[in-house]
Amino acid sequence: MAGFKRKEGREMVEMNTSSLPDLIFTILFFFMMVTTMREVTLKVKFVVPQGTELVKLEKKSAVSFIYVGPPTDQLRAQMGSGTRIQLNDRYAEPREVMDFVAAERKSMSNETDQVISIKADRSTHMGYITDIKEVLRKSYALKINYSASHRN
């Protein structure tokens, strides 16, 4: 087996890593495109309902989220377990939705595309949802989306 024996004195050739940064950059760009920035820390817990007639939310930049559900386990001790509405990073009242919609609209390039996605827990009482819808109607945010997961 002399053929496998390394010749004495020959130096190990280093792998050429000059293309490694380019590779990593490609992966980076891929991730930047397919993902969205996590904007808020969730303070409410929710399990969205399941449906069959769902559509994908196009144009992520035109979508604002309203979260509805009971506070997360960490916050339950202080906040109780009643249903809460979360706008951006804090709890809010239904009437504050109007300011929220206006603020979101201002940051958008095309206001007419604005979509409000309601992410609400399955067991939420309809009263909360109706209150939100009423305010959304008043603030002319008419395109809404009930967030849901797909059912087979």
């Binding site: 940064p21 990593i24 309902p49 007639e53 559509v55 309809m126």
Partner: protein, 195 residues
């Protein structure tokens, strides 16, 4: 002249990559798209539009999430599985039955002269205590019923699926032939059962 030492670029881009992995989420958002009606005009008195009772189908959800539907021919508690079929029959009114929505002739671009039931209204009402899930399922079934009707119509008339039609034809069917007339009344304040 020695080249710039680029051995750390890989590490820097790795750090960026990891940063993006941590701060972003990949979940695709899905949902049921709905359109809310325009807000009522404050200057105007409640213009009560008279709708013939044959044109209305009432869909109600009580606080227990039970579904109750009523039209001229039927009124009872039903399970959610029946809703789609009932709504389809009601909106289509194939035999031009006198207790289901009236049909009238309408000339639609691209479709020609059609008999449509576009005066029908499906009135959805919930109680404040109704669970959101029950309401969502009703909405889902209503959208499914309309989607199926449009699909059936496209198959019958054009022998191809609704999705494969041109945008003009799609919107003609969506807005003129089978428009979604779902009215959502204020939820009942009382928490008792639905009469």
């Amino acid at each position: 002249m020695p080249g710039l030492n680029t051995s750390s670029t890989a590490d820097i881009s790795f750090m960026l990559l990891i940063f993006f992995l941590v701060t972003t989420s990949m979940d695709t958002d899905m949902g049921l798209s709905r359109r809310l009606p325009q807000p009522p005009d404050p200057d105007q008195e409640d213009a009560q539009v008279d709708i013939k009772s044959r044109n209305i189908m009432y869909v109600r959800l009580n606080p227990e999430g039970q579904l109750w539907i009523k039209d001229e021919t039927f009124s009872d508690y039903v399970s959610i599985d029946v809703l789609r079929k009932r709504v389809k029959e009601f909106v289509k009114n194939e035999q031009n039955f006198s207790k289901w929505p009236e049909k009238h002739v309408k000339i639609i671009d691209g479709l020609g002269r059609c008999l449509v039931t576009d005066k029908h209204v499906i009135s959805v009402q919930t109680a404040r205590d109704t669970p959101y899930d029950a309401y969502f399922q009703v909405q889902n079934e209503l959208v499914a019923a309309y989607n199926e009707l449009r699909e059936e119509y496209a198959r019958e008339k054009f022998h191809c699926s609704y999705e494969s039609l041109s945008d003009e034809l799609k919107s003609a069917i969506r807005l003129e032939y089978y428009p979604q007339n779902i009215s959502e009344a204020e939820p009942k304040k009382y928490s008792g059962g639905v009469q």
